[in-house]
């Protein structure tokens, strides 16, 4: 038992933090709000040059051989700085899918570019009125000679306009999991993008697929394997989002604590009022727990342990903590926190939205419950001291 990071991990953290301090300043975060592209030039270039965008790549394609705990360190720092950009959509989630399920040719075509930042791939997954499970994928890919024709609508397609390829989850049959992953050119005829503003002021699109023809070679993996590939990538992805949320929560708490020390009312710093001090003490425990849980999930994944329970727990708890800490942060900031001038609101809006995206609390809770209640295990909650 040892919770120390390795020297390499500490260097990675310092490197990411200094990169963010230079290129993901609050000014950059603000500039990217509602930006149609949403790719912060300097940050994106630096992430490419320092190898951060290649974090999921095999070393043969320029990856640095990071394991999940290394990546969690990076994501925690990105979260602290609310770093904008399509790194999760492209360099993490899409890269994971491609790495695990794509053909050698597809990998060769896309992964190096993803790793350098030259290529952006973004998933087109959720649909209006539908949920996170396989039944939510109703966009149809009808088989044609030599390919498919896609018809339907996707929403919450992040950085759609900046993407070169869309990684589309499409229904190819009536069985619940009859789903395929198809790579579609963002410019393909019949693909129509419309930016939609969101609470987090991020860059997301509604994408209509109007009888879009796609060759069979655009399919990733064997027919019908799409959901399995997607789900596997998501289990990794949510661990990193958990780290991102933990980093954001920690920073939001720091901002709030500093404000509570500086701001005086009734003749003393407001942090000297016990009620407010106790809000922050509670938050401090939650933030430390969130960080450690994210580390544990990442560590477990790095070790090859089963993360069917830990990964959803981590996203569930870290996002809830981020959300709760930012809500508390707003309360402690008082009126000034409601103005756009202060930074706490940037965290507040992103925290809730992250909690709702990429598997929300309801979905995650059900994953955890399934692992606890529906699996055959000697103990539903393992005793960590049992050898």
């Amino acid at each position: 038992m040892d919770l120390k990071f390795s020297d390499e991990q500490n260097i990675l953290r310092d490197m990411t933090r200094s990169l963010c301090t230079d290129h993901s300043t609050i000014a950059v975060v603000r500039a990217m709000e509602n930006d149609p592209h949403g790719v912060p030039e300097g940050l994106w270039r630096q992430m490419g040059e320092t190898g951060l965008l290649a974090m999921m790549l095999p070393e043969s394609m320029g990856g640095a051989g990071f394991d999940m705990l290394d990546c969690a360190v990076i994501y925690e720092e990105l979260g602290r700085h609310l770093a904008p950009g399509p790194y999760f959509a492209s360099a993490t989630l899409s890269a994971l899918v491609l790495r695990e399920a794509a053909s050698a040719g597809q990998q060769q075509e896309l992964l190096p570019g993803i790793g350098s930042g030259a290529t952006i791939v973004t998933p087109a997954w959720l649909e209006p009125g539908n949920g996170f499970g396989p039944r939510g994928v109703q966009l149809r890919a009808r088989p044609t000679e030599g390919g498919y024709v896609l018809h339907g609508t996707k929403r919450h397609v992040f950085h759609g306009a900046a993407a070169h390829k869309l990684l589309v989850l499409a229904r190819t049959g009536d069985d619940e999991q009859a789903i395929d992953l198809l790579l579609v050119d963002r410019d393909a005829p019949g693909v129509r993008l419309e930016q939609q503003k969101s609470m987090a002021s991020d860059t997301q699109y509604r994408v209509v697929f109007d009888h879009v023809a796609v060759p069979a070679s655009a399919r990733i993996g064997a027919p019908g394997s799409g959901w399995r590939s997607w789900e596997a990538a998501m289990y990794d992805g949510i661990i990193l989002l958990a780290a991102w949320a933990a980093g954001g929560a920690e920073r939001a708490l720091e901002i709030t604590v500093q404000y509570a020390k500086d701001r005086e009312q009734f003749g003393k710093p407001i942090g000297a009022f016990q009620a407010l001090a106790h809000y922050m003490a509670d938050a401090s425990a939650a933030v430390d727990g969130a960080k450690t849980l994210a580390y544990e999930a990442a560590w477990a994944r790095s070790r090859g342990h089963d993360v069917r329970r830990l990964a959803p727990m981590a996203k569930l708890f870290c996002c809830k903590t981020f959300r709760d800490v930012t809500a508390t942060g707003q309360q402690i900031h008082g009126g000034i926190g409601f103005t756009l001038d202060y930074d706490i609101q940037l965290y507040y809006r992103r925290a809730k939205q992250l909690q709702m995206n990429w598997w929300d609390a309801h979905y995650l809770e059900e994953l955890v419950a399934t692992d606890i209640l529906d699996r055959e295990l000697p103990r539903t909650i393992p005793d960590p001291f049992t050898v």
Binding site: L126, P128, G129, N130, G131, F132, G133, R135, G136, R155, H156, Q196, K197, S198, M199, A200, R206, E264, Q265, F266, F273, Q274, A275, L276, R323, A327, Q330, Q331, G334, G335, I336, G337, F338, T339, L340, D341, Q345, Y348, R349, K352, Q353, Q355, M356, N357, D360, A361, H362
Partner: protein, 393 residues
Amino acid sequence: MDFEFSPAERAFLQEVDDFLQANWDPRVMDVTRENMAQVCDTPERRAFMKKLAERGWLGITWPREYGGQDGEGFYEYLLNEKLSSVGAPQIGKGVGIIGKTLIKVGSEKLKREFLPKILNAEIEFAVGYSEPSAGSDSAAMRLRAERQGDGWVLNGQKVYTTSAHFADWYWVGARTDPDAPKHHGISLFLIRMDDPGLTIQPMYTMGGERTNAVFFDNVFVHDDYRVGELNKGFQYIAEALDIERFTMFTFAPIRGRVELLCAHVKHATRDGEALKNDPRLRQRIAQLATECEVARLLGVRFVDTAINSPKTPTVEASRYKLYSTELSRRVADATMDIVGPGAQLALGTEDAPLKGRAESCYTYTVIDTIGGGSSEVQKNIIATRGLGLPRNF
């Protein structure tokens, strides 16, 4: 005991309903502006206020000698609940805080100048209490008013003057005695909003609405435009708030949001399945609806105390404000979770569930538990004045 409105009250509500229907205008009545719906910031909204004035509804509780009806405050409560239920501007600031203070302590000159205009909705006020260093601690205001000739020169800064950029007059608290204890050195002034010494700087909020910082650079005010007795300003402010509290935090918007959520769960589907079949959502809806009824009743209790008992319902008002605004934030958060990913889309997104209201509720309701006395201030009031706990914090 009777939880129902009397026939006279119902008749009044019917009258207001008819009026609102006859004057329906989406530019005036807009619940999507959430907490800012009450701001009277457009020509259409000012015109609407004039219509209210024509009905005599601005002077319901004013004495007859000033053109009022000497009526019960309960009708102001009913009127404001109705107005806020459709997102229309409300009465309160001019008629209540300023008008009633002038009636009580204003000079004949000020009464003559302002009261008729208030009654006829010919004047829009901005209120300047908050300052950078005076938030929850509102008696800490520092805006300096120094005696000069037959008037005062004001220097300093206010914040959160939401109406500064469209109001005609500014109702301002300023420190007239820097050496007195902080509650006893403040006086109230009326200043023309277009005074060249005032600089209005917008502060934009998370909800996209505007409020303002206002800078005072040697603003001269004639002593005639000082209100009431010198250095009693804070007392006037507090008394007016106690009187006006129940026109300030209406229940209708919270009810409206809970109704919006319930109606959504009742009718919407996810993956083709009715949301209302999900026992988790059924449970959450039941809890929120119950808490909504509790909030309503705490409001009823407070209004009832104001009207049917001799005491000032300070503690009752705090219980209502505390409980209902904390609920308001819970409702906003739960709405996000229940509605699901589409709820992140911003207000006005046509194909979003609730057309984006989930987003606007989540961002706006942050201010509910802060403005008008934060939850912590309300709890202090309840603890000390309601429960008799020692004041030591």
